[in-house]
């Protein structure tokens, strides 16, 4: 069980206090919004794509420090990156960015931004899976969560 120092590493608090890429894009190429019904966290991702790369990304939403910091970190990581690379980002990549162990409930907070981003870049209307996985113990799988 992680103590508070583990759960709120300085980088998480830094992104929570000073979120990167927070805001909205007017008429974005891609806009996707999702929520975590269990705790009311909401994330919206706005993306502009140029030449197969993420030209611009903004997120907005409400929620706990984990969900908002994860969104901020993710935005920072993907700006300028090719779409193909963004599609390959896995849950483990996000957990690595956060750098903490998350219990089954907080895992959903930590992965909401990725879920939103991926559904957005794949142009999906519904997330195809991995949700149930998040509720269970953290699986030891290296593969990405390709739909």
């Amino acid at each position: 069980m992680s103590g508070m120092e583990d759960l709120y590493r300085e980088n998480i608090l830094d992104h929570y206090r000073h979120p990167r890429n927070r805001g909205a894009i007017e008429n974005p190429d891609i806009r996707y919004e999702d929520a975590n019904p269990l705790c009311g966290d909401k994330i919206r991702m706005d993306l502009n794509v140029r030449d197969g790369k993420i030209a611009q990304v903004r997120f907005s939403g409400i929620g706990c420090s984990i969900s908002q910091a994860a969104a901020s970190m993710l935005c920072e990581a993907i700006e300028g990156k090719p779409l193909d690379e963004v599609k390959k980002i896995s849950r483990d990549d996000v957990l690595e960015m956060l750098g903490i162990e998350l219990g089954p409930v907080r895992l959903k907070c930590g992965l909401l931004a990725l879920k939103t981003l991926k559904a957005g870049v794949y142009g999906l209307t519904q997330w195809p899976g991995e949700d149930d996985e998040a509720a269970g113990p953290r699986a030891e799988r290296g593969g990405e969560s390709r739909p």
């Binding site: 103590g3 508070m4 759960l7 709120y8 608090l13 929570y16 206090r17 269990l38 705790c39 009311g40 966290d41 909401k42 409400i62 929620g63 706990c64 420090s65 984990i66 907080r106 907070c109």
Partner: protein
């Protein structure tokens, strides 16, 4: 006061006297206790020592790395030795299926199961044990009424009145029924203080189309004690039945279905010191008798032919399949334990702690308490802390061993009405201590430091 801690257990006491099926309606209580309504002043209530009570709950005696400061009793309560021991006595001593075997331990098991029914009937002052139906939980009890009563007796154009402060368990079953039968759902709004706006009742009930009012007795978020007796009078006057969700009241205060005058009531064992897996539906006998079964299967039938069956008598017609027997035994022990403490005393204790918590919480800058003042609520205090998300609050508190609920507490429409996405909730039971409130307040100060922006 002296605590009746454990006793001989309810189970074997009535062994060999399996009279369940033919028992006359003798469960009536001689002196109905006034129901918890408009929050009576707890005067001259014999107090119990919560420290002594706490030591009778093994979870608080268990050695652990950090203290267990449990402020989430509205989600589920902890269990005293008496309950665990009673269940263990059943499994170790007379585990058998009920209402079937004619050997000794089967008769003992049947007697224990039916003994709990009688005990629960007395606990809520039902007119007869036959008015007590065992379910899985409150949710199933409400669904039972929606299916067996609602689908049979309601028709398109009828209306059901709910409130804006309902738990999802008292919303969704009616939404499903409304969609199926084309019913109208109406809602009693809440006031700024988080109480029901009763002035809307004439408008909501005026057209005579309302067949049922289903209302929570004590809100699991606001702690509001709703004036159920008054609601029943108005609803009955308009020709509507009343169902009460007593999930947060039956475990904490005296409840008297006859004094309240309600037609149905639901509550659940695990919030009242008993095990999970068993809940209770109280229904007025005439209503239950008119209702078709909810689930089909064994035990709920009198005679089965390949193409049709005759139903069993009340209440067994609503108890299909093997029921949670050990859980019923545990529930019986839990009710006995609560009666030993005295429900007036339990309520006074919970409310005193809530009042203390409200006073202390207001010391925390930026903290906003949801719901009415202490004198009009039960042992539940939900709050927001500036713009710090309740999940973050709860995580910081957890670091100190303080267990609270964070989220919407299965009351999303209420949170929407209150204009907050989520809240943090502290709730109490007989084993809760002021020291736990103190730890909560310390943790909240710490959360403010961690999340200062």
């Amino acid at each position: 006061m002296t605590l009746r801690t454990q006793g001989s257990g309810s189970a074997p006491a009535a062994a060999g006297r399996d009279r369940g099926r033919n028992e006359a309606a003798t469960g009536r209580s001689a002196a109905p206790t006034p129901a918890a309504e408009r929050a009576p002043t707890p005067t001259a209530v014999p107090a119990f020592d919560p420290g002594t009570v706490r030591r009778q709950f093994p979870i608080f005696r268990a050695p652990r790395e950090k203290p267990l400061l449990y402020l989430d009793s509205a989600a589920t309560s902890q269990k005293p030795d008496a309950v665990l021991e009673a269940m263990n006595r059943y499994y170790a001593g007379y585990n058998a299926n009920i209402h079937r075997g004619i050997y000794e331990i089967a008769e003992r098991a049947t007697a224990a199961y039916e003994d709990t029914r009688r005990r629960v009937a007395r606990f809520v002052h039902a007119g007869s044990p036959r008015e007590i139906v065992f379910t899985r939980n409150s949710t199933e009890a409400i669904n039972l009424v929606a299916h067996a009563w609602g689908r049979t007796f309601l028709q398109a154009g009828d209306a059901i009145v709910l409130t804006e402060m309902e738990h999802h368990s008292n919303l969704v079953p009616w939404q499903l029924l409304a969609a199926e039968k084309r019913l109208e759902l109406r809602f009693i709004p809440i006031t700024g203080e988080g109480e029901l706006d009763l002035e809307t009742l004439p408008r909501l009930l005026g057209d005579g189309r309302v067949r049922l009012v289903s209302v929570v007795h004590i809100s699991n978020v606001l702690g509001t004690v709703n004036p159920v007796g008054e609601l029943v009078r108005v609803a009955h006057g308009a020709g509507a039945l009343v169902m009460v969700d007593a999930s947060q009241s039956a475990p904490h205060c005296p409840v008297d279905v006859q004094a309240l005058g309600c037609d149905f009531m639901a509550f659940t064992s695990h919030k009242m010191l008993g095990p999970t897996g068993i809940g209770v539906l109280y229904g007025r006998r005439a209503l239950l008798e008119a209702m078709p079964p909810f689930l089909g299967g064994g035990e709920m039938i009198r005679e089965v032919k390949l193409t049709g069956s005759q139903w069993n008598d009340l209440p067994w017609t609503f108890e299909a399949g093997t029921m949670p027997i050990a859980e019923a035994v545990g529930l019986g022990a839990a009710v006995e334990y609560l009666e030993g403490l005295g429900m007036d005393a339990v309520f006074a204790h919970d409310r005193a702690l809530a009042a203390y918590a409200m006073e202390r919480l207001l010391e925390v800058p930026g903290l906003k308490i949801l719901g009415p003042p202490a004198e009009r609520r039960g042992g539940v205090v939900a709050f927001t802390l500036g713009d710090i998300h309740p999940h973050d609050v709860a995580t910081v508190l957890d670091d100190d061993g303080v267990c609270v609920r964070a989220g919407h507490h299965c009351a999303m429409p209420l949170h929407e009405k209150l204009g907050v996405p989520a809240s943090t909730r502290a709730s109490f039971h007989c084993y809760s201590l002021p020291e736990e409130v103190d730890a909560l307040v310390r943790g909240l100060h710490r959360a403010r430091q961690v999340f200062a922006r």
